[in-house]
């Protein structure tokens, strides 16, 4: 990357970059730090001492575990549905030529551009009209609306990079539809599907706006965190739970990044 001709960044640019990164990541650092503080409410800097007490408090909280379980379940199920529907949709939009194809492609992507609050209100009204009782399944329905988009976008982007003829080439060489899917399509799409799945899992896991409208009495982890924020004597517990949420979402997102990265040799010949 840093070839002989590459210009070095000036001091100003370096400083600005450092400030931006600081702005983005310092709050996360604060959360990590104060998850271990000995103070229970009004925080001071630096923390007067460190303790892991809040972890035991948090882990002993049955409500917290219920929320984590619910969030994992919702995220897992939403992602599963999104893989099937989003993947099929990407295939249809990419391969088939049908009237209104562009419109379908647009409508699919729209929910992610709509403000969550609009999606939330719309879903709540519609589900009420349909007579649904708010709970686990309505949360999943809400999450699927945007999870589909993530999977769809990833898969469609990958399909566009592939030669449209490889499916025909495979059939031409004697492969049945199943063999073509197994040997040609899946290997080329697998990382895109997985990356989409991981991102949609992470997105679903920390979604709060749409969930607020569709959850009924159920508490997902973000809603749980939000609710304990206002309990005055449990602030470090909030930080511990937030740390947990970071851990659950951070590593999958890293993995998604690695999976969608172009392999070093992939661009050499272009």
């Amino acid at each position: 990357m840093s070839g002989a001709g590459a210009r070095r960044a000036g001091v100003g640019l370096k400083l600005a970059s450092a400030l931006v990164f600081g702005f983005l990541y310092f709050p996360l650092l604060v959360i990590v730090l104060y998850a271990f503080t000995t103070q229970s409410s009004a925080f001071t800097f630096p923390p007067p001492g460190f303790t892991t007490r809040w972890f035991s408090v948090a882990f002993a909280d049955e409500d917290m575990w219920r929320a984590v379980r619910l969030s994992l379940l919702v995220a897992g199920l939403s992602t599963g549905v999104a893989i099937v529907l989003g993947g099929l949709l990407a295939g249809a939009v990419y391969r088939a030529r049908f009237p209104g194809r562009e419109a379908v492609a647009f409508i699919v992507v729209l929910p992610i551009a709509l403000p969550g609050i609009v999606t939330g209100i719309a879903l709540r009204s519609t589900l009420s009209l349909a007579g649904a009782s708010f709970g686990f399944w309505t949360i999943v329905i809400g999450h699927v609306t945007f999870c589909i988009v993530i999977v769809y976008n990833n898969v469609v982007a990958r399909l566009r990079r592939l030669s449209p003829n490889i499916v025909e080439a495979s059939a031409d060489l004697g492969a049945s539809g199943l063999q073509t899917f197994r040997y040609v399509l899946l290997p080329n799409l697998a990382t895109a599907i997985l990356a989409g799945a991981i991102l949609s899992f992470a997105l679903s896991f920390d979604e709060i706006i749409v969930t607020t409208f569709t959850a009924g009495q159920q508490q997902t982890l973000p809603i749980y965190i939000f609710s304990i924020l206002f309990r005055p004597r449990a602030k470090p517990v909030t930080n511990v739970v937030a740390l947990l949420a970071i851990a659950i979402t951070f590593f999958p997102i890293m993995l998604a990044q690695i999976l969608t990265r172009e392999r070093a040799g992939g661009t050499a010949g272009r």
């Binding site: 592939l162 030669s163 003829n165 490889i166 059939a171 040997y183 040799g265 992939g266 010949g269 272009r270």
Partner: protein
């Protein structure tokens, strides 16, 4: 149309051959029509490709040549008519049930597989034993001179090398017919010319039937044993390169294969004594002085040089004829320099050529009258 192919057969022999397509015919089209919505891509094509020949389908884009190739491969199904492969009616068979392989225009190599895996693919899905698979892959890669690049990925190869992989991937299956869809289109001129020769050599070495789609008339003329010229979804002429070039059947063929002058009506009557359309190749015409003698077996016309294009070995003159019409004339630059050639611009000249080089042709547009969708029942 396909008249050049079956011209030696009497009508009875021909209908007998229809029922049991005899040996020696690799591919046969019978009244094939393909419509996409309102667009008629292939408009009633009858065609026979012989076993072991290098057969080109030549035509401008949108003339139906690629659709015909896809009909043979099985990527498209004809709206009407039948397609036979090696004597067997394959009209309703899927691509993977047909013993043909295709070299795609963009090669369509599998990006996640190495060169070797790409070539091996067809054998693998047909469950050929591993040892034989390996032997044949090595053999195919050697044939296209890529034996030492087997473990590269397609993205690490040059355009010409990818083209060879695509060829090896198809050849390794030893298909009845190899279909090539403008495979050299993406290569630069020098590489293209080298690959033309190599393709032809490979075809002769393996003895397979090659069906080659191209819009490049020079490519079709140099490589083919026979070629079919396509226009508006119809076959205008089938024949050897020499037949098609020397005796174009229609004005379209005359114009598309090489450069040709088509004269008709009043101009034709003045020069040749009949209003029937005919063509004359630019290289057959001599550029002479106005007072040059004209023998009785020669045609002549006068005019002035409107444009001169110096092409190195040749000079191209565009001559506006007195009394209407225009003729293109090629002259070899035997002694002429570019300066001398360019000075001729604007001068009055006499054009002289041997009457025997006039070729009567059908009007190409004449065939358009039959583009009635209701026409022809399968």
């Amino acid at each position: 149309m396909g008249g050049g192919v079956t011209s030696t057969q009497t009508p009875t022999e021909r209908s007998a051959a229809r029922i049991e397509t005899g040996p020696g015919v690799a591919v046969r089209f019978e009244g094939v029509v393909k419509r996409f919505g309102d667009v008629v891509a292939v408009d009633g094509v009858d065609l026979e490709v012989r076993e072991g020949e290098f057969f080109s389908m030549l035509g401008p884009s949108g003339s139906g040549k690629t659709t015909c190739l896809r009909l043979i491969a099985g990527f498209e199904a004809p709206t009407e008519g039948r397609v036979f492969l090696d004597g067997r009616d394959v009209t309703d068979l899927a691509p993977y049930e047909r013993d043909v392989n295709t070299v795609f225009q963009d090669y369509a190599l599998f990006p996640h597989m190495t060169v070797e895996e790409n070539v091996e693919y067809g054998l693998k899905v047909k469950k050929v034993p591993k040892a034989e698979r390996h032997r044949r892959v090595v053999e195919a890669l050697e044939m296209v001179r890529l034996a030492d690049l087997g473990d590269r990925k397609p993205s690490q190869l040059s355009g010409g090398q990818r083209q060879r992989v695509a060829l090896a991937r198809a050849l390794v299956n030893r298909p009845k017919v190899l279909l090539l869809d403008e495979p050299l289109g993406a290569l630069d001129l020098k590489l293209r010319q080298a690959m033309q020769i190599e393709l032809k050599q490979i075809q002769q070495a393996v003895g397979l039937t090659f069906i080659y789609v191209t819009h490049d008339q020079e490519e079709a003329l140099t490589m083919s044993d026979r070629l079919a010229v396509f226009n508006h979804g119809k076959v205008e002429q089938v024949g050897t390169p020499a037949e098609v070039y020397e005796r174009p059947a229609t004005a379209f063929v005359a114009g598309f294969v090489g450069t040709s002058n088509v004269l008709e009506g009043e101009v034709a009557e003045r020069i040749a004594g009949s209003p029937a359309p005919f063509t004359i190749r630019p290289e057959k015409i001599h550029l002479a002085e106005l007072d040059a003698p004209v023998r009785p077996d020669e045609c002549t016309a006068t005019g002035h040089v409107r444009e001169v294009v110096y092409i190195g070995a040749l000079t191209k003159y565009i001559v506006s004829l007195d009394g209407g019409g225009e003729l293109v004339v090629f002259q070899q630059n035997l002694t002429t320099s570019s300066m001398e050639a360019l000075q001729v611009r604007g001068r009055p000249v006499r054009l002289v050529w041997n009457r025997g080089n006039n070729r009567p042709v059908e009007r190409a547009q004449g065939s358009e009258g039959s583009e009635d969708p209701e026409e022809g029942d399968a």
